[in-house]
Symmetry: C2
Subunit: 458 residues, 2 copies
Amino acid sequence: MAEHSVTVENTLQTLLTDKKYSTIRDILVTMNPADIAAVFAGVESDKLPLLFRLLPKELAAESFVEMESEEQESLIKGISDKELRQVMDELYVDDAVDIVEEMPANVVQRILAQADPEMRKEINEILQYPEDSAGSVMTTEYVKLTPDMTVGDAILRIRRTGVDKETIYTCYVLQNRLLVGTVSVKSLLLAPSDLQTIDSIMESNLITVTTHTDQEEVARMMSKYNLLAIPVVDGDNRMVGIVTFDDAMDVVEEETTEDMEIMAGMTPSDKTYLRSSPFDLFLHRIPWLSLLMISATFTGMIISNFEKALAAMTCLAAFIPMLMDTGGNSGSQSSVTVIRALSLGELEFSDLGKVIWKEIRTALICGACLSVLCFAKVMLVDRLIMGNDEVSIMVAVVVGLTLAVTVLCAKLVGCTLPMLAKKLGFDPAVMASPFITTIVDALSLLVYFGIATALLKL
Amino acid sequence: MAEHSVTVENTLQTLLTDKKYSTIRDILVTMNPADIAAVFAGVESDKLPLLFRLLPKELAAESFVEMESEEQESLIKGISDKELRQVMDELYVDDAVDIVEEMPANVVQRILAQADPEMRKEINEILQYPEDSAGSVMTTEYVKLTPDMTVGDAILRIRRTGVDKETIYTCYVLQNRLLVGTVSVKSLLLAPSDLQTIDSIMESNLITVTTHTDQEEVARMMSKYNLLAIPVVDGDNRMVGIVTFDDAMDVVEEETTEDMEIMAGMTPSDKTYLRSSPFDLFLHRIPWLSLLMISATFTGMIISNFEKALAAMTCLAAFIPMLMDTGGNSGSQSSVTVIRALSLGELEFSDLGKVIWKEIRTALICGACLSVLCFAKVMLVDRLIMGNDEVSIMVAVVVGLTLAVTVLCAKLVGCTLPMLAKKLGFDPAVMASPFITTIVDALSLLVYFGIATALLKL
């Protein structure tokens, strides 16, 4: 796709210089909104309004929605109030809210001034819901039916009002603003008779979320129940909007990126990588780097404490990186597995016992296997091949034994911390490899020096 | 949700013991297929056929699709051929394929024997596509229209044939088996007249994938273009099926889990955590653990090489864990950011120069900042508070300087390796923290001892 966009961009640049506007228009109308937005991202911002005006009204609005907020902002600044109003008229409320959320105050005022009063009211309502809640991602435009309508009435209603709705495929049956059922267009079209009433064909076994449900939970429910749209109700069970599948897919993508960033010891960022400046990246990366660097003071203190043992048997130092890394890797395997299972809803805190028991058994097999492998490697590589006489059989036993105990500790820490974090209301993703590694490092050194002083009589 | 299922499970167990089948049926029919499957997962396998028979035909098939393959298998073994045929008649082809793929050969034979001949043919065709390709996740059941039909004809066609189709909301306009356009039910319903022809309202600007397109790319395109379904064409551009949004959401979930597993140094697994035995977990975790343990031999060799320097100045050993960890963390921040951007299609290999330049600048700011912080910490904590006289200002300078250089190396390795992996056709996710850490450990030790021997004249 990217290569395709680059080519179109170059063509457009040439056509723009030559002022061949009708050719540009002919090219743009064959393209999809997402691709137009990608092409626009590569155009100088003073040319944007010119290109934008070449698009037919509806395509213009759809492409506008797909643009990054930087382009949206410079575009809004470059077009007239009348043109802005035309764009606003074509937007769905949830898309308008997304745009408003990203704009500086003066641009927001211009946008709201050009929205029609009803849309302005709806935008303002949605803006009041907490970030990342169902309320903040929903749209208030959906098809409403009543239980006493006939199938024929319902189809007529869709034909008359559907053009402004983001989805018409699931219609919502309301009685006194309370949601009593849903009807799919499929069941309307396949209904044996146009005279059947809606309440005879509607699905009354409802799956709903409230305005405050976390958007990640909303996406998970839509995926679990294969829903095109999910109704959002308020505290009194009155229907206030719907979340559509395309927004749910965006939420999943966003939340996954956020999880991965947190798991790699970064604070999450809204900007894409190529749009982040080095200073942006620095700000998101430095907090955990500093914190973890400072906490490594403990591992340093442990080593200082056993300086005498290390001085007496210098070959022990050579195995420290291997023990620390294997511990860290074992721990992050467990923590990432548990974090992912928690985020998919496969695990609950009540499963803690089961998880610990499973990890203990896994750790014992992994530990035994690694231990033997490590013993063999130390004897073969460090003693025989590298000819280090200080590496006795006893040293190989100490290293192998430490490895087994470290793997056990690492897996226990790795599976327990994310579950505790979840229970305490923190994001379990924080308990991923950087954090686990720091703890496991200290543990593995304590175990190592403990076993070494005992067995080697240092 | 889980708590809710537990309660229903207990109730059902009691009702089962009391043989109150009609009550059980009344409860089950109010539930969603996904929830029924969750409840069935907790029931002893010999009771499954009994419960299953209580469900109405359609709900039974829908719940069957949602079950895990273990339950599906024991259920198939417990029901008659006639019952199995009823289930097969209700299934969509893509769901049937998913089930067949998970079953042992003898069960597959029974399933295929009970499917009607056309479905059997379609299942066999889909099974021939490579795993994880669009062909393997598509369904062959979709609504076909011709360009010369009127809107009225099209709606009639949907009403007559739609009941067997997984989605009717996007219809596909074919001419000689070639896809020439798509029409949404929305545009059919909103068309001003029933007499308009399909070719006058169809969308002819098509987004398609081929049978061999990777399923992750399919999901990404559906998300990018907000599609409910995407048409799949063969090498000669003939339409062979569609992938629907619910399968795309499943693909995204599956691929994300796989990425996270690989990034944490595990080989990906199809089983959920609670269903994996400790031995399963062991098999998926041991390969990378062993490999990375063995490769830590190099770090060990570096330390052995500088044993004299360490013996001369034992305090140097205390900073090794901090330097290694900070290097590892810096590297995995960069690698995870780049891996995610690659998997979202935000980065291409051609961006390598841009990425390296961005990471160099980020590394310089991070490095400078950490370096100063580290110098201050060493002077304050290690020298003043812990009173270690061996820690001179020069030692603090060495440690601080090493940290800055390590961060730079780590970020360069972290951003470059995933992009190279992608270019060479490997999964970039392999180049995440465990792998990067091993390389960065060796680099940081080399830098450390290099700077230490130079500045401290060891």
